[in-house]
């Protein structure tokens, strides 16, 4: 399995994202899609992709969606996840998020993570918007 066309590797990853990447991105019809190819290091005891890894990946896509949709940096306040189906190692996974509501302080975001065959994880999160002046570093 190779990386699908159009996806670019996210450079400058640090810490957790670097240790569990590489992650990829692609713009499609105005939506930002993140993708990654799960390997053995992402597996749980059953040999499928670990729920924690799926959670981390969807969270990152949803946080990115906030910046994409309303140009604000954000951190996760709360996140609710429904595990809909297993993700297999070697199956290309994609995640995307969409801001469904926001005010000056918080944004409500829906997210989905899916494989080639079915939906894997559904998310609903509230993200705290950082000051427009502040960067994440």
């Amino acid at each position: 399995m190779s990386i699908p066309p159009g996806f670019k590797r996210i450079e400058n990853a640090m810490g957790f994202a670097e240790a569990n990447g590489p992650w990829f991105e692609k713009m499609e019809d105005g939506r930002l899609i993140r993708g990654f190819l799960p390997g053995p290091q992402h597996a749980n005891a059953l040999g499928i992709v670990h729920g924690g890894m799926l959670a981390a990946f969807l969270d990152s896509a949803m946080g990115t969606a906030v910046f994409r949709d309303i140009q604000r940096r954000a951190v996760t306040l709360t996140l609710s996840l429904d595990y809909l189906g297993p993700a297999r190692l070697g199956d290309w996974l994609q995640a995307e998020g969409r801001v469904v509501g926001h005010d000056e302080h918080v944004a409500q975001v829906r997210g989905r993570l899916y494989g080639p065959h079915h939906e894997v994880l559904a998310g609903l999160g509230v993200f705290s918007l950082l000051s427009r002046m502040r960067s994440l570093r």
Partner: protein
């Protein structure tokens, strides 16, 4: 394996990959420890970890994905331990509130409370803490497989033959 974790007394590293040719996610993300305490107390099952750079976000704090992974494990491994169940319980739903950050060098602990366990479902409440401060509140819903499910005996505590024969943490 890192050796600079300096876990508090009583914490033993969990060996998730016993007999496996490749490192799986629980080992890949860093060392996780567990301490078993007196039955019926809040310390009956405590998971612990030392925060390292490879678990962090660009801001230098413990990554939310890492917090979620640990909370999920505390709710499932801890929850099944508390009810005396030896099965792998797949996660159905998790809800997380990220109430405070943790930084490199912090010792993070996770504890859970079983809200209810039926024949087919396990409901857990989970807290992650640094010292007395809560950093994550989470709740988890897990499926208890019918029949024998998967006998989940791959993880064990890394204390050699000393306590051979004792049941693994999950």
């Amino acid at each position: 394996m890192k050796t600079d974790d300096h876990p508090p007394e009583g914490f033993l590293r969990i060996d998730f990959d016993r007999g496996r040719p490749e490192t799986t996610f629980n080992s890949h993300i860093g060392n996780l420890y567990v301490r078993k305490g007196e039955k019926g107390t809040r310390d009956e099952f405590v998971m612990g970890l030392r925060v390292h750079q490879h678990m962090c976000n660009p801001a230098g704090g413990l990554h939310g994905g890492m917090m979620m992974t640990v909370a999920d494990l505390v709710g499932s491994m801890g929850g099944t331990t508390l009810i005396g169940l030896r099965k792998f319980v797949p996660t159905i739903n998790m809800t997380f509130d990220f109430v405070a950050p943790a930084k490199v060098g912090d010792w993070v602990e996770g504890r859970c409370e079983v809200v209810r366990a039926t024949r087919s479902m396990l409901f857990s409440n989970i807290y992650l803490t640094v010292g007395e401060e809560k950093i994550v509140r989470a709740s988890g819903i897990y499926k208890i497989p019918s029949g024998d499910g998967l006998a989940f005996a791959k993880a064990k505590l890394d204390r050699g033959a000393e306590l051979a024969g004792e049941r693994p943490p999950s």
